[in-house]
Amino acid sequence: MKTKIILCVALCIFAVAFRSADGERFEAPAHWQKPVYDFRKNPLTSNTIALGRALFYDPILSRNNTISCASCHSQYSAFTHGDHALSHGIDDRIGTRNAPALMNLAWQRSFMRDGAINHLDMQALAPISNPAEMDENITHVVAKLQATKTYPKLFYKAFGDSVISGAHTLKAIAQFMLTLVSSNAKYDSVMRKQAVFSQQERKGYLLFQKHCSACHTEPLFTNHAFMNNGLPVDTTLRDMGRFSVTMNADDSLKFSVPTLRNIEFSYPYMHDGRFKRLSDVLHHYTAGVVQSSTLAKELKKPIVLTSNEKVDIIAFLLTLTDRTFLFSPAFSFPQNMIEEAAKD
């Protein structure tokens, strides 16, 4: 009897050790809330992350093999479509929205500016099948991947199965995106008491907490809600935001509150990329907010800021730039991996 118990305990210890040796753990920064992504359903492993990274950078996901995820989400612009108000995809077709920055996605409950996508795993399906983006379908993508020399091997390494499925393709891409964690800006060092704000940044921080944090809530700089921040409707796009998902009039003109991390690099701003500079954004919040029935209550009364105060807020926003994230070799084009895979 005793030996049986010992055996069981030993087995358990061994099983756990085995797991962590082969699985990569997702490290949430200290003092952040728990991620909402359910890692038990898609446990991170280094091989799967590597596969996801290869897929993210591979135009094979598009109809004519010209557009990759990275075409519209490039690392140096915080995984946005750098400098493009509306992103363009295959055959230079123009979409209707600005590509959002990709980071800290493990904390996000829904995706897209209107929350149309309910799970990070399923996100990649949208651009793959959008006729203005990659204009492909997942069934054909899987067939194309299966026909390559390298991908069946990479899928085998990642999932123990060289027969490629849609689910495995999506889970791998999701794993790579989950690793895009940005938590090493100057702001974070200040919070960890490893650095101090300049006087101007500090003033900006206090103003930010007063006027902006209700929606752009620390430490992720979003409250993950859908809100109307008073932008006038662009009559050429007529984008009603969240309304198009719920068909509920109360959701008209509400968009997901974006993070402000790496905001220095993720221009242009807003769902349609209408503002090029942060000063344009502050001008909007102080002088451009349009009253309407769904306007957020925080913005019903105009925000009053002097021009110095605006500059202070911008100085603070620049402390959200995380160079280790923007230039991390772990997130860039996987040159080595592709060469290696081609070899064996």
Partner: protein, 250 residues
């Protein structure tokens, strides 16, 4: 023995055991056992009136004036349960089945019933429940390559039916129904409970003729997203299922 040696002696066989177990659980377990009493056979046959639908050859005439051609007919049957006097006595694990009128093998579902539990009714969902719909990527019949996932807004299409009808006032007389929706107020999932007369041979039919006539395909021919119309038509789909008493439909 030194403690290290003891550990080694315990662990090395354990290691093999562990690896062996892993391998075993990765292999799909066979659904049916060799003894036919340990299983339940459930067949779901797509029909048009009294005729079976097989997509390769699916032109039908009804009355004197309604010509119908069905090009796509696919739907999810999930969460299958068996009841006795209204109480669930058996349920299938990981119960998701895509019935596709183009794939005859998809009509037959085999469910283990090791203890030969008796029952008098079967219950199942038509479509995919909302919890599953927000749980990320899944394989098997739920794999997005099956063409039953809404890529631009998430969620499964519960029921797909496409074809032509001469009554249909749309372009080329085409109709196209993609019914689904996992969020209120447009939650389209339907739950059906049907009495079972012969537990050895449960055959259900989905009658496309009933669906098309009750849904009024002449004026309602395109539903492609979750909305009130999708909810209304989903109920009609549910009412187009019936138990086949003798298994003549086969």
């Amino acid at each position: 023995m030194t403690p290290i040696k003891t550990l080694l002696v315990i662990f090395s066989p354990l290691f093999f055991l562990l690896v062996a177990c892993r391998g075993a659980s990765a292999r799909p377990r066979p659904l049916a056992t060799s003894s036919s009493s340990g299983i339940i056979r459930l067949s779901i046959i797509p029909t048009f009136g009294s005729k079976n639908i097989l997509i390769a050859d699916s032109s039908f005439q009804t009355g004197d004036s309604h010509n119908v051609q069905i090009d796509v007919l696919k739907f999810y049957v999930s969460h299958i349960q068996f009841l006795k006097n209204g109480t669930v006595v058996l349920e299938e694990q990981k119960s998701f089945h895509l019935i596709d009128a183009a794939i005859k093998a998809s009509f037959d579902i085999v469910i283990p019933n090791k203890h030969a539990i008796s029952f008098d009714a079967v219950r199942f969902n038509l479509g995919i429940d909302s919890t599953t719909s927000v749980s990320g990527a899944m394989g098997g019949d739920l794999d997005p390559t099956k063409g039953m996932y809404w890529t631009w807004q998430s969620g499964y299409v519960n029921f797909k039916c496409e074809g032509k009808s001469n009554l249909c006032k749309a372009r080329n007389n085409e109709f196209q129904f993609h019914l689904g929706g996992y969020r209120q107020p447009y939650y389209c999932l339907q739950t059906l409970t049907l009495p079972v007369h012969n537990p050895n041979e449960i055959t259900l039919q989905f009658n496309a003729e009933t669906f098309l006539s009750h849904s009024d395909v002449g004026t309602h021919h395109h539903v492609m997203s979750p909305n009130a119309e999708a909810v209304r038509l989903s109920a009609i789909v549910a009412n187009s299922f019936s138990m086949v008493k003798s298994s003549t439909a086969k």
